[in-house]
């Protein structure tokens, strides 16, 4: 016991690797939240009137809404009036070409290990980088546009492709869907936009890297992915933030639209600053992600590796509207120290023969609380629909908690719904067994945890699976009791 606790102590006090910040000249909105701020953001972005109206309507609704309290997370009330809703690095050029980005900003990404130089990039991954409130650049745009694939910042999409944005914005996550989604709709500042035309199989991974740099600023971005008939795209997002004593709010919205026979794979490696080992600081990650399989035979697959954030509240969901459509959710959520996560998914079966699969692997260490919350709903006309859910929890030490909240609502008698759940502990027996074969305790934990999470990690694109494996090991190394 004592030795394990020592290792726990030593490794959980590891510093967060991406905790640094840089000073840059910023274009900032005044602190506070009101209609004028929304107008300020909208005019800053030179938005059309319809979008401002959309924001204002969301804001009006949001004011009537209450912050949700049903999640199994506890944190002091966030004073939304004390936040800044827009902070952007001043850029000399309006161009979003990588070659025109301020070299100082590029350095931030170099330091994070993300080279934006297209020659140096991993082959086959295009990146949009979002720093605080704005997208600072997108790579491989020319290559993609030859295929008709649109991959750009949200702001650019509003200007360049207003019809597409107007058609799909809020179509999956309505502006007033929930408290944080409504807040996002009112104040969102940027994000990524992807459009894959009919019959196109996007030849490279599309990814967005989110970085919060400014203090006391919330990040509210929106991602919208539209996959037309018979198209395919794999999209990834990664996130980091500086180490600060105050909590910072990140309330994003992701919408995915999959038409007939389209397939969208969405992967997240979330490594926001989790707070220090005493629970001070860290990101509040309150995110709404939802996809609709609108067309027959379409498929949406969510994969998430959640290691960061002080508090996570996130349920990437699928609305299976098209007949024979498929929804998948693969998740590894790790909490350590005082982190809290309430995460899971919703699978709404509307079409016939729809299928969904949920694989959730929670890992709790330290004094953290980790909850899985999932809903499987089978509507009346969804004959022969099937769901399989597996929720596993792994506990490390005796001061953390793992919770499972499955909700099942079946309105069609032909539905087949299966739910399996396990809870296990990384045993001293397992560690000792590895030790006895010459494997150190740190490596033993990494081995055991990666084995446990394998089914989910296998879903990630190659380049990111390796990164995620390392991240898991780093977050948890030795946290055994």
């Amino acid at each position: 016991m004592s030795k394990d606790n020592e290792i726990l102590e030593e490794l959980t006090s590891r510093e967060y690797e991406h905790g640094w910040s840089v000073d840059y000249e910023a274009d900032e909105a005044p602190i506070g939240l009101n209609e004028n701020i929304i107008r300020w953001i909208s005019s800053k972005k030179e938005e059309p009137q319809w979008l401002l109206d959309w924001r204002l309507k969301a804001f009006e609704q949001w004011r009537k809404m209450d912050e949700p309290t049903w999640a199994n997370v506890h944190y002091p009330k966030i004073d939304l009036q004390s936040l800044r809703y827009y902070s952007a690095p001043k850029q000399k050029s309006k161009s979003k070409k990588i070659s025109d980005i301020d070299p100082e900003l590029l350095k931030i990404y170099e330091r994070l290990g993300i080279s934006l130089n297209e020659q140096k990039r991993l082959q086959g991954v295009a990146v949009d980088v979002v720093l605080d409130s704005v997208s600072v650049g997108t790579t491989f745009k020319d290559t993609l546009s030859k295929l008709g694939v649109i991959f750009c910042s949200f702001s650019e999409a509003v200007t360049e492709h207003p019809d597409l944005v107007k058609k799909y914005l809020g179509s999956v996550v309505p502006a007033t869907d929930n408290y944080y989604a409504a807040l996002n709709a009112a104040v969102f500042s940027d994000g990524s936009f992807c459009y894959i035309p009919k019959g196109v199989r996007c030849p490279m991974e599309l990814s967005t890297y989110f970085r919060i740099n400014a203090a006391n600023t919330g990040q509210f971005e929106r991602t919208l992915i539209v996959a037309e008939d018979q198209s395919y795209v794999s999209y990834l997002e990664g996130c980091t933030a500086p180490q600060r004593d105050e909590n910072q709010l990140h309330a994003a919205v992701v919408e995915i639209y999959a038409a007939k026979n389209a397939e969208v794979k969405y992967s997240t490696v979330q490594n926001w600053y989790p707070g220090d080992k005493n629970g001070k600081g860290g990101i509040y990650n309150f995110v709404t992600k939802r996809g609709i399989c609108a067309g027959d035979n379409s498929k949406i697959s969510w994969t998430q590796v959640e290691t960061g954030s002080a508090v996570t509240w996130k349920y990437p969901s699928c609305i299976l509207k098209g007949d024979n459509s498929i929804g998948e959710f693969y998740s590894v959520a790790v909490t350590n120290n005082y982190q809290q996560a309430d995460t899971g998914t919703k699978m709404i079966h509307i079409g016939k023969n729809t299928r969904s699969r949920i694989v959730s692997k929670g890992i709790s260490a330290g004094k953290s609380q980790n909850s899985y919350r999932g809903q499987v709903q089978v509507m009346k006309r969804a004959t022969n629909s099937r769901n399989f859910s597996q929720c596993d929890s792994l506990l490390m030490g005796d001061q953390c908690g793992a919770h499972t909240f499955p909700y099942i609502d079946i309105q069609n008698p032909t539905a087949k719904v299966e739910h399996e759940a396990t809870t296990s502990k990384i045993g001293e027996d397992q560690i000792f067994y590895c030790n006895q074969r010459g494997i150190s305790s740190e490596d033993a934990v990494a081995l055991i945890v990666n084995g446990y999470a394998k089914e989910v990690l296998n879903q990630l694109p190659m380049e990111f699976a390796v990164e995620a494996q390392k991240l898991l090991a780093l977050t948890l190394e030795g946290s055994v009791g």
């Binding site: 000792f432 067994y433 590895c434 010459g438 084995g451």
Partner: protein, 253 residues
């Protein structure tokens, strides 16, 4: 090679080993027998460095090193191998991946370069034959869903891969049918050289028909109360452990 002197050990304050003395030389096979609760498995665990057991007195030197000061992983890297009575399951981690991590960490400790995938796989192929283990089994998660026999074979396979100087087989015969027992024993015998030694911890004489010991020790109430050759094991088989108990209580009256 291994010298145990006056070893006392306790778990949660209650003493289990009460002064064990044992000398093991290279090339020897020692059997440790004894009734349930006599401390056989405790001895195996203490040698491997399981930390629930507290060594309260005595010394253990292995290749002239005081191993009681070493962590379990360093003892393993020094060449001590424990074949577990109940091998643990590690879901999602293939035996191959597990062993590759182990082999390379041991090599690193010994100042050798890690084996690349090709060399590692050819080493595996070579050692697989020893215990007639199926390659399919090794690509499955470690011990997960393995039968009792498969788990024990896998232990001996790991032993073959790690090439220890001292192997401790903790009730390797438990839960094995006769065919599996022969395969396991055959593997152990093939691994025997003049430079390594084996401790066979067992309850029954049966295993010793296949792994023939040079010495047999009877452990009772945490002490070695009788030592002898293979014949002692046969005598125990014929008379049962009560004979030893009676003899001992007679001696002390």
């Amino acid at each position: 090679m291994l010298s145990i002197k006056n070893l006392h050990a306790a778990i949660e304050g209650s003493p289990i080993l009460n002064g064990i003395n044992l000398e093991i030389k290279a090339g020897e096979v020692h059997a440790i027998m004894g009734p349930n609760g006599s401390g056989k498995s405790t001895l195996a665990s203490v040698l491997a460095g399981r930390e629930e057991y507290e060594v309260t007195e005595g010394s253990v030197t292995f290749k002239n090193k005081n191993i009681l000061e070493l962590s379990p992983e360093d003892r393993a890297r020094e060449g001590i191998f424990l074949a577990f009575q109940y091998p643990v399951e590690i879901p999602g981690v293939s035996s191959t991946n597990f062993l590759r991590t182990a082999v390379n960490q041991v090599r690193e400790y010994r100042g050798q370069s890690p084996l690349d995938a090709v060399k590692f796989l050819s080493l595996m192929k070579e050692k697989m034959k020893l215990v007639e283990i199926d390659q399919k089994l090794l690509s499955r998660a470690l011990n997960e869903g393995f039968s009792g026999g498969e788990k024990k074979k896998n232990e001996i396979f790991q032993m073959a891969m790690l090439e220890p100087t001292l192997s401790i087989l903790d009730e390797t015969d438990s839960g094995l049918d006769i065919d599996a027992l022969k395969v396991v024993a055959n593997g152990v015998n093939q691994l025997k050289t003049k430079d390594n030694a084996t401790i066979v911890v067992t309850h029954y004489q049966r295993l010793l028909d296949y792994i023939v010991p040079d010495f047999v020790h009877v452990l009772y109430k945490g002490k070695i109360v009788k030592s002898g050759t293979k014949d002692l094991a046969l005598e125990l088989e014929a008379k049962g452990y009560d004979w030893i108990k009676d003899e001992l209580s007679g001696a002390t009256v």
